[in-house]
Subunit: 305 residues, 2 copies
């Protein structure tokens, strides 16, 4: 039985592309592995896969009894069902270390860089395996997506170097132009349901025993969202009603380099203690805040302690 390479819930481009790339690399190292995802590609991811002619991975929501490689996460709340009886053979990630544990030694590559794709690019190099051009193009896009075209504070020199080398392999002359094209697709809200938008890039966290959801919508211009903010608020209230202490939605303006956060919480004062801002009503503008992972989650974790 093939090992399953799978990313987190509500998969983003990095999660899906890293599953595809890691499965390719593991297979070429002699480990039978197939890519999977916990959901369908977002419009952004679909654009990327289509641009380079790569098929979307199969959707897998239960991994009971399977051998797994996890990509782009290491915490159980973001894992599929059936983890109790699954065996984790490896992890590739760029987040904080979560609560996944194993019963046997594993192979973990976890680096403090902007994107899991950057780690996988380096793994290909380390093992002397050539990156197929189509996969190189997809990894390149994943890095541009996660680092918001190098603007996010999570972006490192390793990410920039990886993009440079991947662009050469994939034959992409202007990576930044491709990134902007991708972000325009990502920004599109027409035709999407409020549920689609809230869950486009959404994660649940356990913060000191409380379930906290944080979503992020990245757009090239916040004004695009003016007409649908009330709809988003209603959807957030519905999601919170499913047993969460708080649900936050970051509306990130990648040109203005900051985020408006919509707040639905049993205790909105956590936002004030997390960000040191005075916050009236159910929304606040956070200048410079672009990274959920680096600028939002750690602050909330401290505030919830």
């Amino acid at each position: 039985m093939s090992a399953v390479v799978i990313g987190h819930m509500n998969p983003d481009t990095d999660s899906i592309v890293s599953a595809i790339a890691a499965a390719d690399l593991y297979s070429k190292r002699g480990v039978d592995a197939i890519p999977a995802a916990q959901g369908a590609p977002t419009p952004e991811t679909a654009f990327v896969l289509d641009r380079f002619g790569v098929a979307a991975p199969r959707i897998v929501n239960d991994v009971a009894g399977q051998e797994l490689f996890l990509v782009d996460f290491s915490d159980l709340p973001q894992a599929p069902a059936g983890m109790d009886s699954a065996t984790v053979l490896g992890i590739v990630d760029h987040h904080k270390l979560g609560d996944v544990t194993t019963s046997s030694p594993l192979e973990a590559w976890i680096w403090p860089v902007g994107c899991t794709g950057t780690v996988i690019k380096n793994m290909y190099d380390f093992y002397g395996v050539e990156i197929p051009p189509a996969i190189a193009g997809c990894i390149l896009c994943a890095i541009l997506s996660d680092t918001v075209i190098f603007k996010s504070p999570t972006c490192t020199d390793a990410d920039k170097k990886a993009v440079e080398e991947l662009a050469r392999i994939a034959g992409v002359d202007d990576p930044v132009a491709l990134g902007m094209e991708m972000f325009r697709v990502k920004s599109a809200v027409d035709g999407a349901s409020m549920t689609d938008l809230v869950f486009r890039d959404y994660k649940d966290f356990d913060m000191n025993g409380k379930k906290v959801g944080i979503g992020q919508l990245e757009v090239v211009d916040l004004a695009m969202l003016d007409d649908i903010k009330n709809g988003l608020r209603e959807e957030l209230a519905r999601v919170k009603g499913e047993g969460r202490h708080s649900v936050f939605l970051l509306l990130t303006d990648i040109m203005k380099e900051g985020s408006e956060m919509l707040i639905v919480s049993d205790d909105p004062s956590v936002v004030e203690s997390a960000f040191g801002v005075s916050c009236e009503g159910d929304t606040v503008w956070l200048p410079g805040v672009m990274s959920r992972k680096k600028q939002v989650v750690p602050n909330f974790e401290k505030a919830f302690k």
Copy 2:
């Protein structure tokens, strides 16, 4: 303040040598780091450090408020005091993934190989940093120790390749002869107290909520221990009395390639279900069993479920 590079409780040669080597490598990568250990070197480790003229790391038992790199472990029961307020920047390990978590992204290199030293050797190569000959010699010995001179089932081709290259760097003509010399030092029981012997290579585990201690003594001939087995049993009973469900001591004969296990347990039947052996009295011979990590801990974890 320098980051502290530290291995597990009751440090073995790998734990101490890996702290020294990783601190050297992090420093050369521009991260101010100093090696530490949670205890003094064992006779084996002292032999190795002395052989290559390397100083023992300082002893550190509280890491409150410090920045840390963990080597050779990733579980909290083996961590020093003060972990709550420490920040883990990285992990290098070759064990199962434990319950250490972080609040920020980290750098983790965890490989399913025989020794943390093997991972660090590859990290030096990856970052293009030259390994000082003395440190190469120490890593070589750590690998020979952890893999029982390549006889342990945990030994991989990566470990053998690392030893070959490290021997060249360190100027060691006959690594196996050096390994045998080291194991004769390790085997010495004269003059050591029963407490010293039980804790020479001892780890506590949380098995389904029960505290289980497993020690290992590797000797070149089991007969060396005939006179002290009763003393060891008394010491094991004392250790169990400190609130443990079970304490097991593996007496591993590296020439016969198997282990006698001394058993002190509230429920000795776990040994039968773990190893499928019928076990009368407080001892059992386990042919072929040489690795606590690979052949003992996973079996007990299943048996305790």
